[in-house]
């Protein structure tokens, strides 16, 4: 009897103990798996983050630090570099031109591309070939089209040749304030298709039933656009605007190919300025300039985001 009890006790104890251990180990196992799962995305990200850190983040932090220092040695000059840049005449010219360019180009490009997108949407699938035509300039490298721009906008070039038929005397575009117009034209030529695609995808998101209902209520085309399309496209507009801003800085490729390092004053952009500072190895100005440009862009984008959020409410 006693022995029997002992045996039962022993088996009981053994079972529970075993179970507990098993349970414990299972719990441990789950924990381990969880940890593994949490680690996995970081493992996947690590190489890319390491590269981004080495090639962009750490150097930019260094630039930020150096923008408050003297060129030689480690003397702290506070905002001195920034003041030098802001007082610099070339900087004022370039910043003004860049601002003016953005102010003219962005609304123009957004408006034109929306217009084309609206028309293209009417044509439906049949318009696909036309869509390709508008998008193709995006694929044409600056290096190959520069020859065309030079021939087209020369004093004796193709454009003036065409204008002559209508008895208009065109200017020497690249050596006058007409250069600004050339740059605007190049920018729109290159980016219209890109923006058009974004608008088209936004338009696709508006249900057709809304238009039908409005039409039954007697709304005309203009009313349909104003009361349905316009409010529903605001988000697309913010986004297209942001991407166009990004692309606006790339117009420098064409500008540089056409006009070189020292173009006419009307198209002397921040990009030219940075480039020229760079060739002179003017590190203080460059660092301060880069920080300011990043800050201005960052603030602008944040404001855009805020405006969009407010609009949504």
């Amino acid at each position: 009897m006693r022995r029997m009890r002992h045996r039962i006790w022993w088996t009981k104890w053994n079972c529970t103990w075993r179970n507990r251990r098993k349970q414990g180990s299972r719990k441990n196992c789950i924990k381990k798996q969880n940890k593994k799962k949490n680690l996995l995305p970081w493992l996947l990200l690590a190489p890319s983050l390491l590269g981004v850190g080495i090639f962009t983040l750490i150097p930019f932090a260094d630039v930020f630090r150096r923008s408050f220092q003297k060129a030689v040695g480690t003397g702290f000059v506070g905002l001195g570099n920034y003041r030098t840049v802001l007082d610099n005449q070339a900087f004022q010219l370039a910043a003004g031109n860049t601002g003016r360019f953005l102010f003219v180009c962005l609304p123009l490009l957004l408006g034109l591309s929306l217009f084309v997108a609206l028309l293209l949407e009417r044509l439906g699938r049949k318009g696909n070939l036309l869509k390709s035509g508008f998008l193709l300039p995006m694929a044409v490298p600056a290096a190959s089209v520069v020859l065309f721009w030079q021939l087209f906008f020369d004093r004796e070039g193709i454009l003036n040749h065409i204008l002559e038929i209508f008895h208009i005397q065109g200017p020497d575009y690249m050596n006058s304030s007409g250069a600004f117009g050339v740059l605007v034209a190049v920018y729109i030529w290159k980016n219209l298709g890109y923006d058009m695609i974004l608008w088209l995808s936004g338009l696709l998101g508006i249900p057709e039933s809304l238009y039908e209902a409005a039409r039954i209520d007697g709304a005309g085309e203009v009313q349909c656009f104003w009361f349905i399309t316009r409010p529903l496209l605001v988000q697309t507009a913010f986004l297209t605007g942001t991407l166009s801003l990004v692309n606006a800085f790339k117009v420098f490729r064409e500008a540089w190919m056409i006009a070189g390092n020292y173009p006419h004053d009307s198209i002397y952009m921040l990009q030219n300025l940075f480039n020229n500072w760079f060739t002179k190895l003017d590190m203080q100005k460059m660092t301060a300039g880069a920080v300011m440009l990043a800050a201005v862009l960052g603030i602008f984008l944040i404001l855009c985001q805020k405006a969009e959020e407010r609009w949504k409410q």
Partner: protein, 281 residues
């Protein structure tokens, strides 16, 4: 209504012709001989007095310019090859580092994910001029300025491919991946057998967009390379004078050929890529 449609057709076709005019002109003029070009553009190129006798179509089409370019100008070949040597490693590296990163950002939820997505977004938006100094300093630190690596490495770690592919990976339905896991696939197998095939459009559109971007690279090689023999073909026409006009049209056409063919082949991927670059978090 029908009348309106026809008007739209006419208007848009005219607009497209204006947009394609530069490409058409370059293509057609590349078939002109030197004499014909001199006659046509003499007034622009050499400052000859007299009117521009401009015409679109060549009277005597010839392939001489191409032959001359391909046989007699080793410069062009070298620069074309440099472009190939710079662009393809960039694309390869972008996939190698970008796909895992994008998979992590697109398919896992973990702490810090949102911040990282924003980080890549901001890096994507910054213009080259902002990061120019910092890239220069780090490249000189590694002592690789004026080598092909100076162009390749910053390109490999650009943010656009990661951002784009993240968007596409996010679009894969969860149920498909879960089904694969129920059938016994591990994380890695689920990625290779479900994620990769379904995310392929994203990978292709990232490749196309980045090819167009880096084939057209002007600023990075201009700032990080010094030796002319290492320049990519995107800087070719800035280095020849307009006196070589006979071959410069042919050169223009050959420079744009890879991009245009890629565009023709993958236009739908390109459009998907553009739309994805705009999708908000």
């Amino acid at each position: 209504m029908r009348k309106k449609r026809i008007l739209i057709w006419i208007f848009l076709t005219a607009a497209v012709l204006v947009f394609l005019f530069p490409v058409i002109l370059l293509g057609v003029n590349s078939l002109m001989g030197q004499e014909e070009l001199t006659a046509s553009y003499g007034s622009i190129l050499y400052g000859n007095k007299g009117n521009l006798e401009w015409k679109l179509f060549p009277l005597y089409p010839t392939l001489r310019a191409y032959i001359q370019l391909l046989l007699d100008s080793p410069d062009f070949f070298v620069m074309f090859w440099n472009s190939v040597r710079q662009v393809f490693p960039i694309l390869f590296g972008q996939l190698l580092f970008g796909i895992p990163a994008a998979w992590a950002l697109g398919r896992y939820s973990f702490r810090g994910r949102r911040i990282l997505v924003y980080l890549y977004m901001i890096l994507m938006i910054l213009p080259f001029q902002v990061t120019m100094v910092s890239s220069y300093s780090v490249l000189s630190f590694f002592n690789i300025l004026d080598t092909h690596w100076a162009v390749i490495l910053p390109g490999v770690f650009s943010a656009l491919p990661v951002f784009l592919m993240t968007k596409f990976f996010q679009g894969i339905p969860d149920s498909l991946l879960e089904a694969a896991k129920v059938d016994g696939a591990g994380e890695i197998q689920a990625f290779f057998y479900v994620g990769l095939p379904l995310g392929l459009p994203g990978i292709i559109s990232s490749l196309i967009l980045n090819f167009l971007e880096y084939w057209n690279a002007i600023e990075p090689p201009m700032t990080f390379l010094k030796t002319k023999s290492k320049f990519p073909v995107s800087l070719y026409l800035s280095s020849i004078t307009l006196n070589d006009v006979g071959t410069s049209f042919a050169a223009s056409v050959l420079i744009m050929a890879p991009s245009v063919f890629l565009f023709a082949w993958g236009q739908s991927y390109l459009e998907q890529g553009i739309i994805a670059s705009g999708l908000k978090e």
